[in-house]
Amino acid sequence: MRMFYENFPFFCVFLALLSGILTTLVRDGKKARAVTLAMLLCAAVLNGAVFLETSLRNVNFTYAMGAFPAPWGNELRAGPVESMLCTVFCLVMLFSLMGGGKDLEEDILPEKQNLYYIMMDLLAASLFALSYTNDMFTGYVFIEINTIAACSIVMARDCGQTILATIRYLIMSLVGSGVFLFGVSMLYTITGHLLMPSLYPAVTALFDNDSLHYPLAVLSGMMCVGLAVKSALFPFHTWLPTAHGSATTASSAVLSGVVLKGYIILLIKIMCRVFTPEEIGSLGVGSVLFVLGACAMIYGSVWAVRETHAKRMIAYSSVAQVGYIYLGLGLCTPAGITAAIFQIVAHAFTKPLLFIATGGLIRASGHQKKLYYLRGAAWRNVAAGLGFTVGGLSMVGLPLLAGFVTKLVLGQAALAEEIPQWQMITALAAIAVSSLLNAWYYLPVILQIWKKEPEPRGPEGEVYDEHKENPGLSFRTAVLCMSIVVVLLGCLARPFVQLIARGVALL
């Protein structure tokens, strides 16, 4: 007998698609927004219920779609990790839309607002499907749906810069998905399967016979690189700063917090459920991801230090933070993957918090995006200032905040016995240098936005009114909620990490 909650993953995908259709019908931006927010809330509750049930029972389950059983039909599969990440995604998208609402109203033409929310619904649907799918080709199709929706929300703010950013994003994304699809096709021609549970024994048999080592290395490398391009791993990150830096606030928050992570979840599933982490390590792909992750941590931070544009600085910091995730994955141990998943959750809350807060600070400074003009802005919008401070300090790695736990768990994973010495040293050095660089560019900004200025002035010498900007209730709620989560993740780290570790064992 199937438990009722096992239907929820499918309901979530369906609900998101349904609300997309509803949104096309309502045509009015405000109503479309309400529909989307309600859908995200419902999906968060449903995913949360799946997470509670599966983590309490410590089980995962397979859900057959339609009337056909496994080799013919399509399947969903949910466990604690997938459902937890989907819950996080719903909440982050909800908070991002709430916090970026005012910018959305200004940046997007009124008659096109409902189209923006359709793309958000589509994004949610594709993220759920990417997390829950048990089939490689379904994964590919939803990667593409995710890409098209993500590109559309970049160009929602209609100007030359965003269109340029979109087309660069589109081209890099298509390179990524093309390479990924080629990898999947090769895997299919070798094994004759596309469902993960059927692929796993076939791939294991190949490893046991020690046959086709090079084809497996090439195809797993292609799949990893394809997904890495889409999640902006160094050196494929060139599209990210312009795309995330020029889009409207809510888009930047969703793109950095959620969209990048969807691809990484599929990668984790491939690593754990098609191959095993040790196999990926023995093929040499793990080491490549590890080295690229370490490079990204340093490179992204160095560019963030040099950046003077507020949102682009945060976007470069995303490049570094994605590096942390790949560093954990590259270790190819359960502990490394646990650290990577923790970083996914931590970053999913911290980066949107920073983007939303920066959006608020920019609004309070007469829409000036250069860091220089944000000085004293925290006094003009206190909620945004507090949010930025919490997010920035978490990125730097202040204890009791989420970012610190990431570095700690990652360091512990790198110090395990089975990790080769060069990886241990590289990982620790990269974490240390990257934290230092993070402090170098976040702390001055935090100090600057809290600097009390007698008469804050913009570039033309205009004076900002201290009390002109009212950020609104939904902005305050969003920033407050995300700040609380960042603090909670830092304070309750141990049980949460154990929960993830148990979930990773079930993958």
Partner: protein
């Protein structure tokens, strides 16, 4: 391996060889071509290469499509080629077409705004207008 042997292998796997070559051409075009229109066309190349690879994987010499034309002949697996890759290719074509349309629409918007298809020139102009 002898050169002859290598050539023989390549000729035996001519579909795979052709698709890898085509894929590399498309990939190089997407990454290194500066003309936006050609980038979009290169994407078509790349996708076609993958479709060729997949279709050739399902095609078996001398077998027919799995459609029962004559009900009196008993249907056996040995007569038919594998239909699944064709289904995958069909899905892939839909995705590829929609992305081509999206890419061309964006290219057109950029051309109307900057009067150029060269991405470097567009980037330069966009940077100028930002400052």
């Amino acid at each position: 391996m002898e050169l002859n042997e290598i050539l023989r292998h390549l000729a035996e796997n001519r579909f795979e060889t052709a698709s890898v070559l085509l894929f590399v051409v498309g990939l190089a075009g997407m990454l290194f071509n500066r003309n936006l229109f050609k980038k979009v066309v290169s994407m078509g190349f790349m996708d076609s290469a993958i479709f060729l690879f997949l279709t050739s994987a399902g095609y078996v010499e001398g077998r027919i499509a799995p459609i029962i034309a004559d009900p009196s002949v008993p249907a056996t697996v040995e007569v038919y080629s594998n239909p699944l890759p064709a289904g995958l290719v069909l899905t892939g074509i839909v995705v590829s077409v929609s992305f081509t349309a999206f890419g061309l629409a964006l290219t057109q918007r950029l051309y109307k705004k900057y009067h150029s298809l060269n991405i470097d020139e567009i980037m330069m102009q966009a940077r100028k207008s930002e400052d």
